[in-house]
């Protein structure tokens, strides 16, 4: 079998006395959606920051496209094709939606005209086609989440790390954005998503890794991990486990 696009091997990251990530390993293949779930404070975002070069790991390696990229700076990794989104979205509030996306597009397209075309395409892809001229601060939460996705996509990533892009959206907004994410993997992007919205994880992800207290405590198909007593205990709680279980039967 081909090597996965991303493999994280025994990565640890320490902050002073706190071991935020403790020997975590995971992998993500191209054209698939992989989910990373786990309790708040488990180290999920820290692991993303290590993969995307915002933090150097205290130990372990990150391999991407067959190369060791451990500790490379974020802008170099972006050029290699790794993009991430942030939980707290911070668009350039006074700039238009188009110009916000353009910032990402300029990574690969120095010529403005080309970059604008790319930015507009990406804007349409995420469903912001009608809002390209609007200042970013006028978008609703759902619109800002789409913009965050667009800014990352405009860098034309091969690996896209999504940090809670569904948080704050209502069920119908989630239903609207799920196909957008699915389409990204269909066209070859390896998507790794941190997500608490379990219905979306169940419907999107092929493989799920569960991080708790810095360690991977379970991995497998969504149905497999949500049935794991350790995952129910540490993450889901009985109420949500029951709901997810029901959702899966239908």
């Amino acid at each position: 079998m081909a090597e996965p696009l991303l493999s994280v091997e025994n990565v640890s990251r320490r902050f002073g006395g706190l071991l935020a990530v403790n020997g975590a390993s995971l992998s993500a293949p191209a054209a698939r959606i992989t989910a990373l779930i786990g309790p708040n404070g488990a180290g999920k975002t820290t692991l993303f920051a290590v993969i995307s070069g915002f933090l150097k790991p205290s130990a372990g390696r990150v391999r991407y496209g067959g190369e060791d990229v451990t500790g490379e700076r974020p802008h170099r990794l972006a050029r290699r094709g790794i993009a991430r989104t942030f939980q707290i979205v911070q668009p350039f509030a006074g700039l238009s939606v188009r110009d916000n996306i353009l910032v990402g597009a300029h990574l690969r397209h120095p010529a403005r005209a080309v970059a604008v075309t790319v930015a507009e395409e990406v804007g349409r892809e995420v469903g912001l086609g009608d809002m390209l001229d609007r200042p970013a601060h006028t978008l609703t939460v759902a619109g800002r989440k789409r913009l965050e996705l667009a800014r990352a996509l405009a860098t034309e990533p091969k690996l896209l790390l999504l940090d809670e892009v569904l948080a704050g959206l209502n069920p119908s907004e989630i239903r609207d954005i799920v196909p957008v994410i699915r389409a990204l993997s269909t066209r070859g992007i390896a998507v790794v998503m941190i997500e608490h919205v379990m219905q979306a994880v169940m419907s999107l992800a092929e493989h799920v890794f569960v991080l708790a207290e810095g360690r991977i405590i379970a991995s497998g198909t969504p149905a497999h991990v949500t049935a794991d007593p350790a995952v129910v205990e540490a993450y889901l709680g009985r109420g949500a486990a029951a709901k997810v279980g029901t959702a899966h039967v239908h």
Partner: protein, 238 residues
């Protein structure tokens, strides 16, 4: 003498620049109630919170809290009255320690009982106690949410406005958070709960208002709203 509601909002209009966001909202919270405000993104829920807590000026209408008109008060004066707003998106001070963030919550109100209140917050959120000396910016997203709520509790609220407190929390922690809100409420604090998490909000709130396009389209007892599938489909995206 009739007893006034703790919070009484009438015909409230508010907005930004040319945009009128709230177009005549009526809303009441009685002392000791949990009231949910529900509705899709962009209907004005956060603007309502900001107007009540004085961050955005009311353009028309009245806001009374604890028997006094507050629609012309500054946010700090409203805080001193015991109306505390925990904003969406946490807004903690990343470079200050967890403990200092909490202490700032009790700066204007209840300063003399700061230590006691801090103990109480730590009892509710043991994770914050473990991390009390850490910079708040190093907390995980969910821990920052706990800190924001804890900071609000430091001011001994009579009414606590929570703007999407479950945002970014794991399913288990959402269950725990809603149980904690019920506990905070059991201590006598009224709660105005603004949430996307409709199902769980209706479980703990006695009443709910549903906003659409800057107006209140429906209000009622939570069980009645929970039992109305058409309403949930039309306004709540369920």
């Amino acid at each position: 003498m009739s007893i006034e509601p703790l919070l009484d909002v009438r015909a409230l209009c508010a907005g930004y620049g040319d945009a009128d966001i709230l177009r005549g909202i009526d809303l009441k919270v009685e002392a000791g109630e949990i009231v949910a405000v529900l509705g899709s993104n962009g209907v004005g829920k956060s603007t309502l919170n900001r107007a009540i807590s004085g961050i955005v000026r009311a353009r028309a209408g009245t806001i009374r809290f604890d028997g006094a008109a507050i629609e012309h008060d500054k946010p700090a004066a409203i805080v001193r009255r015991g109306l505390i707003h925990v904003p969406e998106g946490r807004r903690i001070f990343p470079n200050l320690s967890v403990r200092d963030n909490l202490d700032l919550g009790g700066y204007r109100r209840a300063a003399e009982r700061r230590a006691t209140n801090r103990e109480r917050v730590f009892a509710i959120f043991p994770r914050l106690y473990e991390r009390r000396a850490q910079s708040a910016g190093t907390l995980s997203g969910g821990e920052q949410q706990m800190l924001a709520i804890g900071r609000g509790l430091m001011a001994e609220p009579r009414l606590l406005i929570l703007d999407e407190p479950s945002l970014g929390l794991s399913p288990l922690l959402v269950e725990e958070l809603f149980a904690l809100i019920a506990r905070i409420h059991a201590d006598g604090v009224a709660v105005l709960l603004v949430e996307q998490n409709v199902v769980q909000s209706l479980e703990i709130a006695g009443r709910a208002y549903i906003l659409a396009d800057g107006q209140c389209v429906m209000s009622g007892r939570s069980p009645d709203i929970a039992a109305d599938p058409q309403l949930k489909r039309a306004y709540l995206g369920l």
